[in-house]
């Protein structure tokens, strides 16, 4: 009889403990969602974005680091431009469902319809999400952790069932001091390769020069 009482007591304590733990987890999850929502809200005020970037790639494929410089433009709802100025001039312009690509080497414009190229669609969608702060929609694909709150630093680890799992080990996003925009995006791949984006001279909600949407620099 006494043994039974002890068992009931232990089970009750366990139950209370598990419930409390569950509550703590829920609370932490809700805090995360709240923070991500807050980022999204801040970023949702951005109608246009213009920023320079330096991309540093450490790839096993090359003997040395690849240093890429360029600029990025975003105009909501669906225009996105990716210009590379060095080491080779390259442009990718996304307008609606059409992607136009150009580089100075071939001087040819290649147009891709996203509807007929789902893999490219995935890439551009992901990129748009990273740079536009739509992180709440990534909650099903990544385990998101707040590494520091001021300035905000987020860590994204892909879930096992997500497409990124085999390629990406983790992504860390650090916001600028004023938290108006991203400072760096740091990507570590599963094979040890890494890529770091640093955003500089960021301007928000400014009138963008129409020429940024031209795919050829000579246009």
């Amino acid at each position: 009889m006494r043994r039974l009482k002890i068992r009931v007591l232990i089970l009750t304590i366990l139950f209370i403990f598990i419930s409390a733990l569950d509550g703590i987890c829920e609370e932490s999850n809700s805090t995360l969602i709240k923070d991500l929502k807050s980022i999204e809200e801040k970023m949702s005020n951005i109608t246009t974005l213009s920023t320079q970037f330096i991309e540093e790639k450490n790839l096993a494929l090359f003997d040395q680091k690849l240093l890429i410089k360029g600029s990025l433009y975003l105009q909501k709802p669906s225009s996105f431009a990716w210009h590379i100025s060095s080491p080779l001039k390259q442009r990718i312009i996304l307008t609606g469902d059409v992607v136009a690509q150009w580089d100075e080497d071939t001087n040819q414009v290649q147009k891709i319809n996203l509807a007929s190229n789902p893999s490219f669609n995935v890439i551009t969608n992901q990129m748009k999400r990273w740079v536009s702060g739509s992180y709440l929609s990534l909650i099903d694909e990544y385990k998101i952790e707040i590494m520091q709150s001021s300035p905000m630093k987020l860590k994204f680890v892909p879930f096992e069932n997500s497409m990124a799992f085999k390629m990406i080990k983790r992504i860390v996003i650090l916001f600028q001091e004023d938290e108006k925009y991203i400072d760096t995006i740091d990507i570590l791949e599963t094979n040890g390769d890494s890529t770091k984006f640093q955003f500089l001279e960021t301007s928000l909600n400014v009138n963008l020069d129409p020429r940024v949407w031209k795919v050829k620099t000579s246009d």
Binding site: Q64, Q90, Q101, D105, N161, I187
Partner: protein, 807 residues
């Protein structure tokens, strides 16, 4: 000739004698007769419950080996067992994650014994692994020709160009994805086969991306679930259960989700529902007409028997027909039941004759009734000449129904009404032919003018072979299919070149041979075959040996040197292409040889089928005549191959059915004329009796032209029915004019026509196209045929045959 007349006179005597004998027997054994009839009827009804029906569409198609083979393949393969659910996100504030959540909810709730499998997509993180496995498999599918092309690409200029492209890719946004391919396939030898899979999937499938293991549309507003079911498209009862189950589960989804159900099963149910609704409307209208007739004209509940007899006749006939011809087609039974209903006209004649003068009058009109019966039977007997087994069943069933009906009407009905002291009640209505409203000449002239006008209109008539006329599915189903096509970019307009063999290895070999022929006749973008990426094991083994030999010889070393030399210009590391060289020399492994890569599973399902009939490999190409003809030429040279083209199959089925109906029309027309001449024994009387038939046919054809409709197979069959009815009106009116039957013939013809027109007119409200066209044909044909019989025949008779007559 005199022998013939003598023989005919003898036969007539025998028939008269037989009739007297039967009448006398039935008079004496009245109660026994009624008991016997009741027993036969009860047995027939009881047997009907255990009767099996044959829903096979093949029963209604002309006999053709190619149709049979194509239908067998389509029936056995898993093309027809799919139901697609397209979930659409309505709410602007909702994301693709909400949509996927709803799809998962639906998938989990759909579990049912009627659903074999639910496909929702593929797990993305497995894709990269699958690609890796596929690239390892590529050496097995590189042909000698491809290897020759590879050899040509191993040169400093090309290698430099490829490495530069690789470097540029590393600068771009999608570098992370591209890196794998540069390391594993720097010159793109293997990647081009990956593109072939993509092309194959896109050529016949849907434009979709994969997200969390789901098929998601490019705009991320739609998710697709593909259900495989064990329910056959023709199994309407289970199809209904299945669709209802799906609809119930859809109702449980959140408000922001809309679901379109796409599948052949919906057409089955919708057609059945629409037909039922249309038939209910018709039954209601016919019942109403019957009630009016009972109240106003017959004034007797017993007169109900006149209308019950055709139903009893079809029940008995169905039993006899199924005993002789096996399982009947439900379509044939339905159509024959309608025809049997038409025999009510004979009942009306006999009932009115009894009203006006008892058995004496019945005996008087028996002959014209029998003339009408034989000519009508002649029309339907023409269906015995059809190569369509269903039509042959129709011929037997209609003729049996007419025989049984007429037996009941002539021998049983008068016995049931016979009461010595009591006259049969009837309405005291005077319903005479008011021919004097218009003079006979004016009447004939008016008829000639109207008929000539319609003959002119009929010159513009067209005949449509469009098989879609048989599909009366509701608009919402077609709308959903259109939405689906727009949303997912599904391309279903393809024909198939099918290779057939008892084993998988053999069918793959036949497929390789077909692929070689296709390459000679078609451009590469004009067809999709799996042969290039999934050849037979024998070919794969040969390819692998060749590949190993190729790289071991000198090319491996040569390429390694070139990559090192040219790569240094772009900063490629020493080990940059190690994964490529590692896979190059391990492709001879036994496990790689025997296993099929997982990545092919998705496309294999569409290109390879295994059924009870054997193994099939399918090559797809656009379903256009020019391509179908080319493919037929290829298949004609190979015993193990055949072409399936939905368009050309539909067209040739329609054409065959059209030709069949046209052939039957000629036979029926000839039989009507010959039988009428034989039975009336006068060319002039025959011409008069045929007048309503000719009038109705031209009125229908001209009327269709005026209304802007094309004639089609259902309307042609309806024309035959109209002809069968109109010849009866003609025969009755001719007999009435010649023999002055005084059996209320004009009233009987008018009532018969009125009931048929009313029944036919109700079909004008039908939603189902087949019923609608039958309704238009019946309404125009019977109305014009009746007018010609009731007004033009007496006028012509008086002017042409009996100018001095008073009637």
């Amino acid at each position: 000739m005199s022998i013939w007349i003598h023989g005919y006179g003898k036969l007539k005597q025998v028939i008269n004698h037989l009739f007297e004998k039967v009448y006398s027997f039935l008079d004496k054994k009245r109660k026994l007769t009624i008991l016997l009839v009741t027993v036969v009827l009860l047995i027939s009804v009881f047997r009907l419950f255990s009767a099996s029906f044959n829903n096979d569409v093949e029963l209604m198609l002309p006999k053709d080996a190619e149709f049979s083979r194509s239908l067998k393949f389509l029936r056995e393969s898993d093309f027809s067992d799919k139901i697609v659910l397209s979930l659409h996100l309505k709410g602007e504030d909702k994301t693709v994650a909400d949509l996927i959540k709803a799809a998962d909810q639906l998938k989990n709730s759909l579990k049912s014994p009627l659903i074999r499998k639910i496909e929702e997509g593929i797990v993305e993180n497995e894709v990269l692994g699958d690609i890796e496995e596929f690239l390892g498999y590529v050496p097995q599918i590189v042909s000698a020709e491809d290897l020759f092309a590879v050899e040509k690409e191993i040169n400093p200029k090309n290698v430099k160009e490829r490495l530069k492209q690789g470097y540029k890719n590393m600068l771009s946004m999608n570098s992370m994805f591209m890196k794998y391919f540069i390391q594993n396939d720097p010159l793109g030898f293997k990647t081009k086969y990956l593109r072939k899979i993509k092309d194959l999937a896109e050529s016949i499938g849907y434009q979709a991306q994969f997200k969390h293991g789901h098929f998601v549309s490019i705009d991320e507003k739609n998710v697709m679930l593909i259900l495989s079911t064990s329910v056959l498209i023709t199994d309407s009862a289970n199809a209904r259960k299945l669709i209802n189950h799906i609809r119930e589960q859809i109702k449980l989804l959140p408000d922001y989700i809309d679901v379109d159900i796409i599948g052949g099963h919906l057409h089955t149910i919708s057609n059945e529902d629409i037909l039922k609704r249309d038939i209910s409307k018709t039954v209601f209208a016919v019942t109403l007409i019957l009630l009016i007739l009972l109240i106003l004209v017959f004034r007797s509940v017993r007169a109900l028997l006149v209308f019950i007899i055709p139903a009893a006749a079809i029940v008995i006939s169905m039993n006899i027909a199924s005993m002789t011809m096996g399982s009947l087609s439900p379509f044939v039974v339905g159509l024959a039941a309608v025809i049997a209903g038409i025999t009510v006209d004979y009942g009306i004649h006999i009932y009115l004759a009894m009203q006006s003068g008892g058995m004496e009058k019945v005996n008087k009109i028996a002959k014209p009734i029998l003339v009408g019966v034989f000519t009508t039977m002649g029309v339907f007997a023409s269906f015995f000449f059809s190569s369509i087994y269903g039509f042959q069943q129709f011929a037997l069933l209609t003729n049996l129904s007419i025989i049984v009906s007429i037996f009941f009407y002539l021998f049983i009905l008068p016995r049931l009404f016979y009461e010595k002291k009591k006259r049969i009640p009837f309405a005291k209505m005077s319903f005479r032919n008011k021919h004097h409203i218009l003079g006979d000449r004016a009447m004939v002239l008016l008829w000639i003018i109207i008929l000539s006008a319609f003959v002119l209109f009929s010159q513009n008539s067209t005949f449509s072979n469009d098989i879609r006329v048989y599909d009366g599915s509701s608009k919402s189903i077609f709308d959903a299919e259109e939405r689906f096509r727009k949303m997912w970019g599904a391309n279903n307009e393809f024909a198939m070149l099918v290779a057939q063999a008892p084993s998988k290895e053999k069918v793959l070999k036949v497929n390789e041979a077909l692929n070689m022929q296709m390459k000679k006749s078609f451009r590469s973008k004009e067809f999709s075959s799996i042969a290039d990426i999934y050849p037979s094991l024998e070919t794969r083994a040969k390819n692998l040996s060749r590949w190993d030999l190729f790289w071991k010889n000198k090319h491996g070393e040569e390429l390694g040197t070139l990559l090192r030399e040219q790569g240094s210009d772009y900063g490629y590391s020493e080990d940059a292409f190690k994964p490529f060289f590692d896979s190059l020399y391990t492709s001879h492994r036994e496990d790689a040889k025997l296993q099929d890569p997982k990545l092919l599973d998705r496309v294999k399902r569409r290109f390879l089928q295994k059924t009870e009939g054997g193994n099939y490999a399918i090559t797809y190409f656009p379903d256009k005549k020019v391509f179908v003809d080319k493919a037929r030429e290829i298949s004609s040279k190979m015993a193990d191959a055949f072409v399936i083209s939905r368009n050309s199959m539909a067209k040739s089925i329609s054409e065959s059915a059209g030709q069949e109906v046209k052939k039957l029309s000629w036979i029926a027309g000839l039989l009507i004329v010959i039988l009428t001449i034989l039975l009336l024994k006068s060319i002039r009387l025959t011409l008069l009796a045929l007048l309503p038939v000719v009038t109705s046919i031209f009125m229908i054809i001209g009327g269709f032209s005026l209304l802007g409709y094309s004639l089609n197979a259902p309307s042609m069959i309806a024309i035959l029915v109209v002809a069968g009815l109109c010849i009866d009106y003609g025969v009755f009116m001719v007999y009435d004019c010649k023999f002055k039957l005084e059996a209320r013939t004009f009233l009987a013809v008018t009532l018969s026509a009125a009931t048929t027109i009313a029944g036919g007119s109700v079909l004008l409200l039908a939603t189902h196209p087949v019923l609608f066209y039958v309704g238009v044909t019946m309404a125009i044909g019977i109305f014009s045929g009746y007018l010609a019989a009731a007004f033009v025949i007496p006028a012509c008779y008086r002017l042409w045959i009996s100018p001095g007559g008073t009637r």
